[in-house]
């Protein structure tokens, strides 16, 4: 009998009641991102959260990177609004994709957007996509528990697994040690080496691309999934890799988001989490390995980070290596530059096999425009 690691906070949250009616309730339209938050709370992806944060959790997360009960948590999960709802109300939140939930409002509170941005993103520069989003948020926040009454329909439902499903899946596969890989990109050879190096020491890998709002120029969700399908089909053992999506937006909060991503994967039942170079970073807002250092502050995370420096191809070694194992000068190294690979793909060229698997490149090139506009 294999026991999974406990979810964050000790219990997998499930806040679903499909028999409840929202017909007579005041309804508020929500975005797809908020709908994703709702489902993630309801299905325990965000355990131990049971709803949107009240001020005590929000403030504690900003200032201490912990919930009010001292559990590690680094990203605010909040509901912003500018309407007339009040404390004690029960309202229905509904999204275009069909997601519907009841929101029991416990607290309405003010917040300082500048402080939010400074603490979470380490900058107030409006050019940072996370800061921009915070500055565009409405003026008040509402906290309280939610209950999901209807799940939304989306394009990638066949890749959509909930933590109670992955936990059973991992048990059925006989996996005890599971490493999670977070991604928002199509895989190149460097990614494959990171994944396979980690996989060598555990029972299975959970490849978990983020599906949701991304910035212009990122690969489209569908392209990422098809590219990974091709990689796994051709280059992974079927019983060692699972591909499933995480429906949430990228925050680009670098180190803080690395901790958040690790907690979420712990809830799926993973024991290890890969943290690469500039995890969840954007531009030059974070140091390349800040997302490694931050884990030192969390001895109680309950999931083990595996840190990787970038892999590259070394002409002298004749193989894919990293700076910990290659003694040769930089001029022998070919780096897996996302920008360079992107440029080749835009020009309709298949990148060399030392950079990207042919099957992956062909999938990307089969799209007229594989990038987010």
């Amino acid at each position: 009998m294999i026991n999974m690691p406990a979810p964050h906070g000790g219990k997998l949250i499930r806040r679903i009641d499909k028999n409840k009616s929202i017909d007579d309730m005041e309804k508020i339209a929500i975005s797809k991102d908020v709908a994703h938050d709702l489902e993630n709370i309801a299905y325990g992806v965000f355990s131990p959260l049971e709803g949107f944060m009240c001020s005590n959790d929000f403030e504690n997360v900003l200032h201490h990177m912990r919930l009010a009960n001292d559990l590690p948590w680094t990203i605010p999960i909040v509901f912003d609004f500018d309407g007339s709802i009040k404390e004690g109300d029960e309202i229905a939140l509904v999204a275009d994709n069909g997601t519907a939930a009841i929101f029991s409002i416990e607290e309405i509170y003010n917040y300082d957007k500048k402080e939010y941005a400074e603490k979470v993103f380490r900058t107030t520069d409006i050019a940072h996509p996370g800061v921009k989003k915070v500055m565009e948020m409405k003026q008040k926040l509402a906290g309280g528990k939610i209950t999901l009454v209807r799940e939304g329909k989306e394009n990638f439902d066949k890749y959509y697994l909930k933590p109670y499903e992955t936990r059973i899946l991992f048990k059925e596969k006989g996996w005890r040690d599971i490493v999670a890989f977070q991604t928002r990109n199509v895989p190149h050879i460097g990614h494959e080496y990171v994944q396979k190096t980690a996989l060598t020491f555990v029972d299975g890998i959970f490849i978990n691309p983020v599906i949701g709002k991304k910035k212009k120029g990122d690969f489209k969700d569908e392209v990422i999934l098809k590219a990974y399908d091709a990689l796994i089909k051709n280059y992974y053992l079927k019983d060692r890799a699972v591909l499933a999506i995480l429906k949430t937006e990228m925050r680009y909060a670098g180190p803080r988001e690395a901790i958040f991503h690790a907690i979420v994967r712990k809830n799926y039942g993973c024991t290890h989490f890969i943290v690469g170079r500039d995890h969840a970073g954007v531009g030059n807002y974070y140091g390349p390995y800040d997302a490694h250092k931050i884990f030192d502050e969390f001895p109680d995370l309950g999931i083990t980070p595996i840190f990787f420096k970038s892999f590259f191809f070394c002409r002298k070694c004749g193989s894919v290596v990293n700076e910990k194992i290659c003694p040769h000068e930089k001029e022998n190294h070919i780096y897996y530059s996302g920008t360079a690979i992107r440029k080749m793909l835009i020009n309709g060229e298949i990148p060399p096999e030392t950079m990207m698997r042919k099957e992956v490149a062909e999938i990307i090139l089969s799209y007229e425009n594989p990038f987010v506009d």
Binding site: M4, P5, P7, L12, D70, R167, I168, E172, K173, P299
Partner: protein
């Protein structure tokens, strides 16, 4: 620590033997810990987390079979 003091009710005092406090003071010299309190907090968090029990999900046989059926239908299980 000054930020800690400012936040009323978020911190409490725990007494430890003075020789132990002295040992900790020496131990944290040149490390990232800026106070005995931050070190003790770190160690206690680590200790308590290591004592967390593994969870055993409780599903009825019927529920578990439904989940496995879905996983098979999606191609995750044979």
């Amino acid at each position: 620590m000054s930020e800690e003091k400012e936040e009323k009710g978020k911190y409490t005092t725990v007494s430890i033997p003075t020789p132990l406090a002295e040992k900790i003071k020496k131990r944290i010299e040149g490390t990232g810990f800026n106070s005995i309190s931050s070190y003790v907090t770190y160690v206690l968090r680590e200790l308590l987390a290591s004592m967390e029990e593994e969870e055993e999900e409780v599903f009825s046989k019927e529920d578990e079979e439904k989940i496995k059926e879905r996983l098979r239908a999606l191609g995750y299980l044979d």
